[in-house]
């Protein structure tokens, strides 16, 4: 796979901060300027930090790390 920039767990929060996101007290990713707005994955699920897989364009798409979300991503990258 090309065009993938990887990161590890240690960089997760910093990356989200750079995209103006933060983590609420329940562990969900929310907009820094609007903490009531929880980030939703392409499959429509509210996204927790521990399930955050990465980001792609399409405005900004925050992806989940569960296996069927990764299968969808894999298909989209083909």
């Amino acid at each position: 796979m090309s065009k993938i920039i990887t990161f590890d767990n240690s960089a997760k929060t910093k990356i989200l901060e750079s995209f103006n996101m933060t983590i609420n007290q329940n562990g969900y990713i929310v907009e820094k300027d609007n903490p009531l707005k929880i980030v939703i994955s392409p499959e429509g699920d509210p996204l927790e930090l521990k399930k955050f897989a990465g980001i792609k364009k399409g405005s900004l798409v925050f992806m989940r790390s569960d296996i069927t979300s990764l299968i969808n991503l894999s298909d989209a990258l083909k």
Partner: protein, 285 residues
């Protein structure tokens, strides 16, 4: 500063280790870049073995960090992905491209509800992990993800796939329908009923889980008997679950026949309910 300029500036520190033209955007796009955030790595480093340029956010100035991790990073089709997720996608793709898996997916495609196809693709990957010693540690997590996202159906598909019901039951059932019915729409409709019954209700199968008590297992067996079904297949993995099955067998034997097989830590028991004593044929789990 533009994203390409920042990358160029960072990677310039790696010369002469990195022998590529870092001014060429195509080459930059094809470089393996990994982002980390720790106190021990340098701001930029290169691993020649893995051919990865590592960038450490902790050691970058705020300006550089802001310019690097920006929406421009995601231009030209680039995506940011956690390394473990990239590995999972690579493993998944390698497993899925085998002729064996392709045959299964081709069989399932357009015969089952479209939303179920990815659950089966995930379940086939889960089974591959279960059968591969270095990936075995992923099995519980994958099953949990399917249960959490798709509820009972996700759990049932994961269990049915792991116990080979796709090859041993669904595919033969479809072939049998194809031989007895001439109409493709009717075959699809009848198969759809069989499929839906199997994955939603597990009519003749019990997968013993951690939360199922011995009494619960016995109740499940008797519930299948009350359905009027001739037999029930019981699958258990792990010593605790195997013990539950062994504890129930003597009680059940009073009213039904049973048989048993399996390797260490796994048990398969097929019980033929007494009303149907003529059915004693064993089928493999």
């Amino acid at each position: 500063m533009a994203w390409h300029d920042i990358i160029e500036k960072l990677l310039a520190k790696l010369t002469p280790q990195l022998k590529v033209d870092i001014k060429h955007p195509v080459i930059i796009n094809n470089l393996n870049i990994h982002i980390t955030n720790n106190s021990h790595d340098q701001d930029v480093s290169y691993d020649p073995g893995k051919e990865i340029c590592k960038i450490n956010l902790e050691k970058l100035t705020e300006d550089i960090k802001k310019g690097l991790i920006s929406s421009e990073m995601l231009d030209e089709g680039r995506i940011l992905l956690e390394d473990s997720c990239k590995k999972t996608i690579e493993d998944f793709r390698n497993q899925e491209k085998t002729a064996e898996t392709q045959e299964k997916i081709k069989f399932l495609d357009k015969k089952i509800p479209p939303d179920d196809l990815n659950v089966w693709r995930a379940a086939l990957y889960l089974r591959h992990c279960d059968n591969t010693s270095e990936l075995k540690g992923r099995v519980d997590g994958l099953k949990y993800q399917l249960m959490q996202k798709y509820g009972d159906k996700g759990r049932n598909i994961a269990n049915l796939c792991t116990a080979n019901y796709l090859e041993d039951w669904l595919m033969p059932a479809y072939n049998e329908l194809s031989e007895t019915l001439n109409n493709d729409d009717l075959i699809k409709k009848e198969f759809g009923k069989i499929y839906s019954h199997l994955v939603n209700e597990l009519p003749f199968t019990i997968f013993v889980c951690r939360t199922m008590s011995t009494k619960g297992l016995k109740d499940e067996i008797m519930r299948r008997k009350e359905f009027g079904i001739n037999f029930v297949n019981i699958h258990a993995i792990g010593n605790d679950n195997v013990q539950k099955v062994k504890a129930v067998i003597p009680d059940i034997e009073k009213e039904s026949h049973y048989c048993e097989e399996r390797k260490t830590g796994r048990i398969f028991v097929k019980i033929f309910f007494k009303e149907e004593e003529n059915q004693k044929e064993l089928i493999p789990a």
